[in-house]
């Protein structure tokens, strides 16, 4: 039981380190067991050092750096324990254009193993999509689905 947890921790930590560097283009991150001698109860801390910066409290990170770190951890867990599908609802709203692009590239990578249903209006993410659905409310209060052509997408993208 404790051994299984330790194993998972080691695997997720390894994946987290790698995905973090992929998303940040450098830097380092670590999952740390608060009490390594109490594997059945220990909490898990996150240590982050964005490229070129000093290691700091998670709280001092910027909105975008926090979002990117969270995405790195979620993707790391997906890598270790693949889910057949994953629904992501506007998770990159805090990322700037450059980070959205790195996120979209990572998503394309992971999409070979996992089906992603993504709600987004970010251009980088849209460009990685294979299928596109548009939701509208032409009749107020009632949602309808439409197939979306590429030009409409570019108008929608922000």
């Amino acid at each position: 039981m404790a051994r299984k947890f330790k194993e998972t921790y080691v695997q997720v930590n390894q994946a987290f380190r790698e995905v973090f560097v992929q998303l940040f283009g450098g830097g380092r991150a670590e999952l740390v067991l608060c009490e390594p001698d109490y594997l059945l109860e220990t909490g898990v801390e996150i240590i982050v050092q964005p490229p070129g910066k000093k290691t700091q409290n998670l709280s001092l990170l910027s909105g975008g750096e926090r979002a990117l770190t969270a995405i790195a951890l979620l993707m790391a867990m997906l890598k270790v324990r693949p889910s057949p599908f994953c629904v992501l609802d506007e998770i990159e709203s805090n990322l700037d254009e450059a980070n959205v692009q790195r996120f979209a590239d990572l998503l394309s990578d992971f999409a070979k193993e996992t089906q992603f249903i993504v709600i987004s209006h970010r251009k980088g993410t849209m460009e990685a999509a294979h299928v596109l659905y548009g939701v509208t409310m032409e009749e107020t209060g009632v949602s309808r689905l439409v197939s979306v052509k590429l030009e409409d997408v570019e108008k929608e993208a922000s």
């Binding site: 770190t69 599908f85 994953c86 999409a111 709600i119 999509a129």
Partner: protein, 165 residues
Amino acid sequence: MYLKKLEVQGFKSFADKTKLEFKPGIILVVGPNGSGKSNITDAIRWVLGEQSIKSLRGDKMEDVIFAGSEQRRSLGMAEVSLTVDNSSGFFPLEYNEITVTRRLYRSGESDYLINRVPCRLRDIHELFMDTGIGREGFSIIGQGKVDEVLSVKPEARRSLLEEAA
């Protein structure tokens, strides 16, 4: 295993029968504010057996039934069906395709079906349990929720790892 189809009727803002067909890969959903995109996320959560109305942004379970608009009256039932591909034998059932259906009536009565055969809610839970899918774990990240994995206590983060174990 992958999602093939989602059929929604009377669920939140999807008053009319609506069908989304999925392929493997990345499926993108776009649309203006309030058009119903996150309601699709809620529909997937709900049909997989979500019991916490708070996770569906509501107050009481009845809130997921189309409540009407200025031009339309409310409906008496919400129904969502999710069809998954099972040709890889991911689920321990004989079928190549599995369709899970959930219905809720304003009376409070519910129906649950697997491939059109009535079952209980717990049968749906057990079907997806241990697959790392859906309500538990990290395969559905709701709007505004991605930061949560950073802001939770170290103990809560531990349970996230335990689920991956």
